[in-house]
Each structure stands twice: as structure tokens, then as C-alpha cells.
């Protein structure tokens, strides 16, 4: 039992049964009799004053029940959408948080920003009604270009120069000194291209209000229903927290984009209250493009100072980060605490200094997208390292080995605030080199040349901080919430178990992996453990799923709660076996008295807990259900080595990935099948950034890549088979020894691809995405 379904087993997923038979319950699948439909009216202008809005033509139309503007929400004192992470500038001043009403009131600041909502009996009528709304706008000068945003026309009264903050981390003096005395400096100007997350399920919301009870229920596509509930209640004032239930049912992917509280579910639940009717909204894909939070979008000047032998002596980074038109929920933290703190990479670089200026532009808000800051950091470091290797004539693996933090150096305090607990970077690199057949590369290159193709190989030795997060650290760095996690392990009378978690699974397989953990620890069948997630009415407050935190923080909470169940069970067993706790052993689901054949099973203990015979009630309560809230001691630090091999067709510039190897250290692994799947998905997104994807606004602020016709999503024929493997250095500070794996694929891969491509072409840099024309032009020397 434990070997087939326990920790470490590649158990097939419980959730698959409903997904492969079309029996999933995604938000848009859920319907209430008599529900109304909402359609949003969105700005066609990237920046304009709203002079007036006339919803009366919509109200006059067949089937339209209501039409609201931002002013209506404001009149009900619906608050602004908050940003939950305070970042301070170099001078100690707080970041600027411009007003962010959920539905625009007096000004629109990006194409697609909603300024009205029409609610009707049918979706057709709601669409027709939305089109009938008229509005008068006064267009304002548009700020789109990131490089010139600071100092361009001021978008928000509160933000002079369009600056949100100007943050720094590290030791400027020491870094400047390191550069002054370096033998060699490698520098790169890097553009980290804007991406649009595009989870396959568009965002949706079904809001309900029952006047007789005052209860609000919101079904929505969220990665963190409790956080959604907290914000809607405490910050946006939609309802009292206790009267609002938020349910994130099956959710079709998130990748960060479904963390945030958005205009749409806010307006929907508010309007449901106004009308005392159920209201359904689902985004069209074009709305997802316009109004889901985008990702990445940095401009960076990065420099690495080295000794002649390749030892890193200093790293200096200056980044401008795009916040978009408004601060989304975690936006401020992504290019600061999730980015600057990772610039040590896997290396012992002694002096690091990073400055990040974040600015507002008339584009969609930018926030966390798979990796959130860590892909950007890895890209900077690993492109610099590879480029430095080439400049110094060193092998890319050797230069890394020269600078790796060694196993005996841990715990290692980096110059950028984090302390890595453990790792063995050379082990991953060694395995990756073997798996890609590095020794044979030169020959393969010759072969490619003979076929008229260019071939290149590129490395990326990444590290990430995840398992978000130790509350004390997060709070001290400006987070508005602690980032612990909740778990309840509730044993039934008949011995089956429900596990309530504050995390949410939208593809990660928690219903399986969390069940593996509990069934393994309790020695009960995997089938008898049910994982409950996504419903604020059923699980205690938790922080949801993102930042590769669920197994590490949520799983650890579950372990703690399970340990409490075992502890109480032992007490019960001792009582039932007329022994003492010290003399009761627990193994594979059975409690037995040491050195005797007296034993009882876990189900028998469970039954007894609910049919308590002669319990010493002052010492032993009936029931068997325990909670735990786990607050991590530190972040976790998954790390690994990605190696990419590409072939380029010089005639067209088309890049083919002929091999991709990822060797990752995720600490202890619960389900290797699920882990490999997470890596595959991340790799596709990282490769997508390198070669395919780009969210582009033209100079007039229109989103040019507003559909799959123009935004290049990775398809099956764009991807190779991946070779993935793992090495293990268990995390030192959580009961599972786990580090988390959800984002690693996207964090490490982009740099590996671009290092391979620049190697193939023999150029220093190629912009991302390296589309065929971009590559072709790079080969023409442009």
C-alpha cells in the first residue's frame, strides 16, 4: 500500500476521472436557475477622461435588467482594488498606489479597461445591450514605451514621472569597488518580453445573493479563494467576510493570472447583491488578452565583473519594470523581492547591487506569471554567465563550476538577503551534461553544418526561492498578508479521512499528492483519503496556490495536522489497549503495545473516537480531527541545470529545439509523474517566451496581439520531447524535505534556449521572442 500509493509513488491522479470524461465543474459549467448574464463595456482608448456615460439605450433594450457604471459602485462605497505588497523606494518613501477603482469612474488607462457592465436575461441581450451603451471620452496622451515612460506624460496624479517606486537591494559601494578592480566586465542590455498568461480556461464568475439570509456566494476562477474573499470583504467592501463564501471549483489553469482580484468578479458579486439575482460572467478570449494581468516586461542593463580566471567578483543590475496602468495585487513584489533577491543565482558572487524602477504605462496591469520575477532574474544571471564564458574563452560548464556555492558552504547567506539552506549544484549539472551528451555536441554541430543548418548549445543553472513564504519575512518586506498555510485532517467515524487545505489545485494534482501523504502517514488506503480545496465554506483560511508553495507549505501543514491526529490516536489507542502512550507503537496503520501482540487498527481507533467508551474526559476528548497552520522558516530553494540544443535554418531563421534536458533538485518528491508534468509545462512556457510569445502594444496603445491569430501560443509541433530528471538534496526545514516544483521549468529554460541560439549564430544577443524573422535578421548582422 505505501509503496504503490505512498510518498514517492507515481500514483495516477484521482482528479483525472472527471476531467477525461468531461465531468469537471469549471465555473462556466455551473448554472443557477434564472441566472442573469453580465457583459462588460471596455475602453477602446488606452488613455482618456470619461466625460459621460449613457446606459439608458441599454436599459431600454429587450431583456436588459440593469446597467452599471463605476459611479454606481463608488456610490455604494465599493473600494479600490488594492495592491498587497508595500515596496519602499531608496529614499524610504512608500511606493505610489494610484487609485484603482474596479470599474473605471472618471478615467480609463488601458485598452480593455471596463467602464460599464450590462446585465440581461440572456447573453445575447447582454452583448447587444453592452454595445448600445454610449460614452464620451476626451483622449489623453498615451504612454506605452517602457524605456521612455519615466518622464513621459504623467498618467496618475499621484505618480510623478509615472514612477511607482525606485528600489534597491545589495551593497552599492562594495559592488562598485568590485567592478573598479575587476579584470573583465561582461555587460548585456536585456529586454524581458511581455507575456500574456493565457490559461486555457478564460476567467469567469457566478455571483449569487440571497436576501433572506444575507449570504453572498461567488464561484470564480481563483487560485486563492480565501484571499479573494478577504479582499472583497475587507478592502473592497462588497460584503462582510462572514457573509461571503467564495468557491474556486475546477479551474482550468492559472499560472498566476488567477491570483488577483479583478474588476469582473467584484462587479458581478456586487451586482448580484443589488439585484438579489444570480449573475454569470465569462471572459471571451479577447477579453482575457486585454484584461488578465500580463507578465514580465522588464528592461535591464546587467553587468558581471570577473577575474581573469572567470571568478565572479560583482554583479550590477539596473532594471525598469512595467507595472501597467494600475498596481495589480502582487505587482510590486515581482520585480523586487521575487527578482532582486535571486541575483546571486547558484554562485558565490560576493558583491551584488540591484536597482529596480517600476513605472506605470497605459497597458494592462502586469503581475506574477509563472516564476514571477525568478525567470527574469535567471535570465539576467545566466545570459551574463554564458556570455562571460564566451568572452573569456571558457567552457560554460567550467565557469559555472568555478563559481558554484559548494555543498559545504550551506547554509549560505547571499548578498541579496536570502539564506539558501542546501543544494548540490554540480550534481544537477553533471547529470544534465551526461543526459544531453555534451561530449558529442561538436560532432553533432558538424553534422548540422553539413546539412546547411546552424547548431548551438546553451546552459542555464537556475535557482529560485519558493514555498512562499515565511510570514515574518514577508511582512517585514512589505507584504500585507502572512503566507502560512492551513490544513485540517478530519477523520470520519468509519476511518476514512477528509483533508481540508487552503491551497487550490488547478492542474497541480493536489487531490492525489496530498492524499498520498496522508494515506502513507496514517497507513490507510489511498482511496479513503479525500482532499477538499477551493471552498472558503469548507477549508480554513489559507493563502492559495502559486509560488510553488502548495506542497511545501500546504503539504507541511497537512503533515503537522496528521501528526496531531496520530498523537491523539495514540492516546486513544493507549486507552483502548489499557497501556500508556510511551508503550504504544504506530506502524503501517496499526497501533500496538510494545513487545506484545495487542493491537488495534486506525479505523478502530477512529470509531472509538466517535463512540467513546469510558474516556477520561478531562484528559481525552472524543472526536478525531486536527488542524495545523504551518508557517515556513525560510523559503525553499529548488535549483537545477537546464541544457538546450537548437538547430537553426539560416534560410528562414526558424529555430528548432532538437534536445532539451532539465535536471532539477526539488528535494523530496511525492509523485515523480506529477513533478515531471509540472516541469514539462514550465519548459513549454519558458521556451514559448524565448521563441514564440510576445504581448505587443503599438505606439498608440492598442494591443496588437489580441488573439491567437497573432499571439503565438506553443503548440504540440513547436515543442520537442523533453528529457527530465532529478537530483535530491532534501529541504532542511520542512517535514517533507520538499522544495516545490511548479515554476522551475519556466524559470530555467528561457536562458538555456537563448544561450543555445546565440551560440548557434555566434552573436552576443538576439531579442526575444526569437521569431524566424528576428533570427534571420540577426544572421544578416542587423
Amino acid at each position: 500500500m505505501t509503496s504503490e500509493t505512498g510518498i514517492g509513488a507515481a500514483v495516477k491522479r484521482k482528479e483525472d476521472a472527471r476531467f477525461i470524461t468531461g465531468a469537471g465543474h469549471y465555473t462556466d459549467d455551473i448554472n443557477q436557475p434564472g441566472q442573469l448574464y453580465a457583459v462588460f463595456v471596455r475602453s477602446m482608448y488606452p488613455r482618456a477622461e470619461i466625460r459621460s456615460i449613457d446606459v439608458s439605450p441599454a436599459l431600454a433594450m429587450q431583456g436588459v435588467v440593469a446597467a452599471y457604471t463605476g459611479a454606481d459602485l463608488a456610490a455604494d462605497e465599493i473600494g479600490d482594488l488594492p495592491c498587497g505588497w508595500m515596496v519602499k523606494s531608496k529614499d524610504g518613501s512608500d511606493m505610489i498606489q494610484p487609485p484603482h477603482p474596479p470599474v473605471a469612474v472618471s478615467v480609463v488607462n488601458y485598452v480593455g479597461e471596463p467602464y460599464a457592465m450590462v446585465v440581461a436575461e440572456t447573453l445575447q441581450e447582454a452583448r447587444d445591450g453592452a454595445e448600445a451603451v454610449t460614452a464620451d471620452f476626451n483622449e489623453l496622451p498615451v504612454v506605452v514605451d517602457l524605456a521612455s515612460a519615466h518622464g513621459a506624460d504623467q498618467i496618475h496624479e499621484a505618480a510623478p514621472g509615472n514612477q511607482c517606486y525606485d528600489w534597491e537591494l545589495g551593497d552599492r559601494e562594495a559592488t562598485d569597488a568590485a567592478f573598479a578592480s575587476a579584470d573583465h566586465v561582461t555587460s548585456l542590455d536585456i529586454v524581458n518580453n511581455r507575456l500574456i498568461p493565457n490559461a486555457m480556461e478564460p476567467r469567469a464568475a457566478l455571483g449569487m445573493y440571497e436576501a433572506a439570509t444575507g449570504n453572498y456566494t461567488l464561484y470564480t476562477t481563483s487560485q486563492n479563494p480565501h484571499l479573494e474573499r478577504l479582499i472583497l470583504a475587507a478592502f473592497v467592501n462588497v460584503a462582510a467576510e462572514s457573509k461571503l463564501r467564495v468557491v474556486a471549483p475546477d479551474v482550468g489553469g492559472g499560472f498566476g493570472s488567477k491570483i488577483f482580484v479583478y474588476a469582473e468578479e467584484t462587479a458581478v458579486i456586487w451586482a448580484a447583491g443589488k439585484l438579489a439575482r444570480a449573475i454569470k460572467w465569462r471572459a471571451d478570449r479577447s477579453e482575457s488578452f486585454l484584461a488578465d494581468a500580463h507578465g514580465r516586461d522588464h528592461l535591464t542593463r546587467a553587468e558581471l565583473a570577473l577575474k581573469a580566471d572567470g571568478t565572479f567578483v560583482g554583479l550590477r543590475v539596473k532594471t525598469v519594470a512595467n507595472m501597467g496602468a494600475y498596481l495589480s495585487l502582487f505587482a510590486s513584489s515581482v520585480p523586487t523581492y521575487l527578482y532582486g533577491t535571486l541575483l546571486a543565482g547558484q554562485y558565490r558572487t560576493p558583491a551584488i547591487y540591484v536597482e529596480v524602477q517600476s513605472v506605470f504605462t497605459n497597458t494592462a496591469p502586469v503581475d506574477a506569471y509563472r516564476g514571477a520575477g525568478r525567470p527574469e532574474a535567471t535570465y539576467v544571471v545566466e545570459r551574463l554567465v554564458e556570455t562571460a564564458a564566451r568572452e573569456l574563452g571558457k567552457d560554460p560548464a567550467d565557469i559555472r563550476r568555478l563559481n558554484f556555492i559548494q555543498p559545504e558552504d550551506f547554509p549560505y547567506e547571499t548578498p541579496v538577503a536570502l539564506t539558501y539552506d542546501t543544494g548540490d549544484y554540480d550534481a544537477s549539472l553533471k547529470k544534465a551534461i551526461e543526459l544531453i551528451g555534451y561530449d558529442g555536441f561538436a560532432e553533432r554541430k558538424v553534422s548540422s553544418e553539413a546539412n546547411g543548418k546552424k547548431r548551438g548549445i546553451g546552459f542555464s543553472c537556475y535557482i529560485e526561492a519558493c514555498g512562499l513564504a515565511p510570514s515574518q519575512v514577508a511582512l517585514s518586506l512589505g507584504a500585507g498578508v502572512g503566507l502560512f498555510e492551513s490544513a485540517e485532517v478530519r477523520v470520519d467515524v468509519t476511518g476514512s479521512v477528509s483533508v481540508m487545505t487552503g491551497c487550490h489545485s488547478h492542474g497541480q494534482g493536489h487531490e492525489t499528492t496530498f492524499a498520498q501523504i496522508v494515506s502513507d502517514k496514517l497507513g490507510i488506503p489511498f482511496e479513503n483519503v479525500d482532499v477538499v480545496h477551493g471552498d472558503t465554506g469548507r477549508s480554513d483560511y489559507g493563502l492559495g496556490t502559486y509560488g510553488s508553495r502548495s506542497l511545501v507549505v500546504g503539504g507541511s501543514a497537512i503533515v503537522k495536522a496528521t501528526d496531531k491526529v496520530i498523537a491523539k490516536s495514540r492516546k486513544i489507542a493507549a486507552h483502548m489497549l489499557e497501556s500508556t502512550e510511551e508503550n504504544v507503537d504506530f506502524e503501517e496503520g496499526t497501533f500496538s503495545v510494545t513487545d506484545s501482540n495487542q493491537s488495534i487498527t486506525f479505523p478502530e481507533v477512529a470509531f472509538s473516537a466517535y463512540v467513546p467508551g469510558n474516556y477520561p474526559l478531562d484528559e481525552l476528548e472524543p472526536g478525531l480531527s486536527e488542524k495545523a497552520f504551518y508557517d515556513p522558516e525560510n523559503f525553499t530553494y529548488p535549483a537545477g541545470a537546464h541544457i538546450c540544443e537548437v538547430e537553426v535554418d539560416p534560410e528562414t531563421g526558424k529555430v528548432e529545439i532538437v534536445n532539451f534536458v532539465a535536471v532539477d533538485d526539488f528535494g523530496e518528491i511525492i509523485n515523480p509523474m506529477i513533478v515531471a508534468g509540472q516541469v514539462h509545462g514550465g519548459l513549454a512556457q519558458g521556451i514559448g517566451q524565448a521563441l514564440l510569445e510576445h504581448g505587443i502594444y503599438d505606439e498608440s496603445g492598442q494591443l496588437v496581439t489580441g488573439s491567437y491569430m497573432d499571439y503565438t501560443m506553443p503548440r504540440a509541433d513547436d515543442m520537442p520531447n523533453f528529457v527530465v530528471d532529478t537530483t535530491v538534496t532534501p529541504c532542511t526545514h520542512n517535514p517533507l524535505g520538499a522544495k516545490g516544483c511548479g515554476e522551475a521549468g519556466a524559470i530555467g529554460s528561457t536562458a538555456a534556449v537563448m544561450n543555445a541560439l546565440t551560440d548557434a549564430l555566434g552573436v552576443v544577443d538576439v531579442p526575444m521572442p526569437a521569431s524566424p524573422e528576428t533570427v534571420w535578421r540577426a544572421m544578416q548582422g542587423e
Partner: protein
């Protein structure tokens, strides 16, 4: 979508009468272009006239030509082998699901600059048969989404002379998979024609390539030949200059397939 009246006539006369009677009617074939257009509210016809009830499907091989009914699916053409280059072209259209609905008649009547069939129509010197007479390939494509099809007329079939040898090479848009550049090279009874789609506002023939290949049907014959890309399409995926370059590359690859 806006609201409209849907009709499915049983025969050609009924179809054309419905069109004449409609305030603002549009013909529907496979719908792979029209339906997304309607969903985006980019068009607001009063009447949609579905031609699928008309007997316009089928592939007929004659001694020296192949006639494909307008309603023949891309997947049906792809599964054939009478003109292998044409089947390969059809296989390169869209994706499997699109090929199971899209039709040659619908594709050609639309003259989308990124469609594939127009390159074959030009290269194989096809005749477009319509309810208002036959139109030669060279006269058919007139501009961006513009053809010589008379208002209200319906394409009934396309007749392709059987080539001696022909090949199609396509460079797809990485996002939409439409043709950024698609080139069909065909030699039929000594005549060489090079049909290009994707590059310009509509399909056209690359005349200088044709002359060079007529003299010497080889990849080398195309070396150094210029492509005037001044009027070519340009977007975020491919500039006019790059398309100009690709015309040469795809043409050479097509020739390489058949030499």
C-alpha cells in the same frame, strides 16, 4: 454574434433567390472564415445562406484535369492523390478540425491573403467555375479579399489541369498558421507557373521565376533573382522584406521537391 436569419436552400436557384431577396445576405460554406467573423461582430448580415445543401461536393478526375466541387472539404482533397501537390497543400491548411469543415469554394471566394489554395489556382492555371460563367486563374484574384466573382454568383467547382510536376512549400505564421508565404511551382505541358500566396494582398505569379525555370528547371536557376516586395504585406510576424526573401526560399524548396 448579431442576429440573422439562417437559410439552407436545396438548390442553386433557391440559393440565389434568397441572396437576391436578402437585405444584406452572405453565403456560408464551411464557415471557417465567416463564423469567426460573425462571432467577432465584424459583420452583420441579415441573412446567412448555407450552401451545404447544394450538390457541389466531389472530386472528378478527367484525362487531363481534376475538377473539385466547391463544397469539397480540405480533408477530402488532402486524402486524395490525383494531384499530390494539391493534396499536400490541402493538408497544410489550418489544422485537422478546420480541414474537416473548410471548403475550396469558400477559401477561394474569400481571397484571404494568407489562404493556401490561391497559390495552387495560380500555379496550376485553374479555372474557377461559377454560376455566372468560368473565370481564368489569372483573372480571378483581384486584391485584398477581392475576386472577380460577380455579386450573388456562387463558385460551383474548380478545374485544375493535371500538371507534369508540381510542388507546394509553405512558411506558416507561427501563431495563426496561415501562409506567411506559400509558393506552388508547377510545370504543365512545358509551361512553368509560380503561384505565390501570403506575400502580397492577393495571390499572384512570380513571373521572373517562371521565365528562369522555363529555361532551366532547377534550383540554381532561381539564384540571384529578385523579388519586388514593395507592395507586400507586413505585420508583426513578417515584414515585406522578409516575405520577399521567403518567396525565393520557398520557391527553391518547391523546385527541389520535384527535381
Amino acid at each position: 454574434m448579431y442576429r440573422f436569419n439562417y437559410h439552407k436552400p436545396d438548390d442553386m436557384d433557391a440559393a440565389q433567390q434568397m441572396m437576391a431577396d436578402a437585405e444584406d445576405g452572405v453565403y456560408l460554406s464551411g464557415g471557417m472564415t465567416l463564423i469567426p467573423t460573425l462571432k467577432a461582430r465584424l459583420a452583420s448580415p441579415t441573412d446567412v445562406i448555407d450552401l451545404s445543401g447544394l450538390a457541389l461536393s466531389g472530386i472528378e478526375l478527367a484525362d487531363d484535369s481534376l475538377t473539385i466541387g466547391a463544397l469539397t472539404l480540405h480533408s477530402e482533397v488532402a486524402a486524395g492523390n490525383e494531384i499530390s501537390s494539391l493534396s499536400n497543400l490541402a493538408l497544410a491548411i489550418g489544422d485537422a478540425q478546420v480541414r474537416n469543415r473548410g471548403t475550396i469554394g469558400g477559401s477561394i471566394a474569400n481571397s484571404d491573403p494568407g489562404a493556401d489554395y490561391p497559390a495552387a489556382v495560380m500555379a496550376l492555371a485553374a479555372t474557377i467555375n461559377t454560376t455566372a460563367g468560368a473565370i481564368d486563374a489569372d483573372d480571378f484574384f483581384q486584391g485584398l479579399f477581392e475576386t472577380a466573382l460577380k455579386p450573388g454568383a456562387i463558385v460551383t467547382s474548380v478545374t485544375f489541369p493535371l500538371p507534369g510536376r508540381a510542388a507546394y512549400e509553405k512558411f506558416p505564421n507561427p501563431a495563426s498558421r496561415y501562409a506567411v508565404v506559400g509558393v506552388m511551382v508547377a510545370e504543365t505541358n512545358g509551361d512553368v507557373r509560380v503561384g505565390v500566396t501570403g506575400a502580397g494582398p492577393c495571390a499572384y505569379r512570380q513571373r521572373n521565376f517562371e521565365q528562369a525555370l522555363a529555361d532551366n528547371f532547377s534550383v540554381a536557376a532561381l539564384d540571384g533573382l529578385e523579388v519586388d516586395y514593395a507592395e507586400f504585406n507586413s505585420d508583426i510576424h513578417a515584414s515585406a522584406e522578409y516575405r520577399g526573401h521567403l518567396v525565393g526560399v520557398m520557391a527553391r524548396r518547391a523546385v527541389a521537391q520535384i527535381t
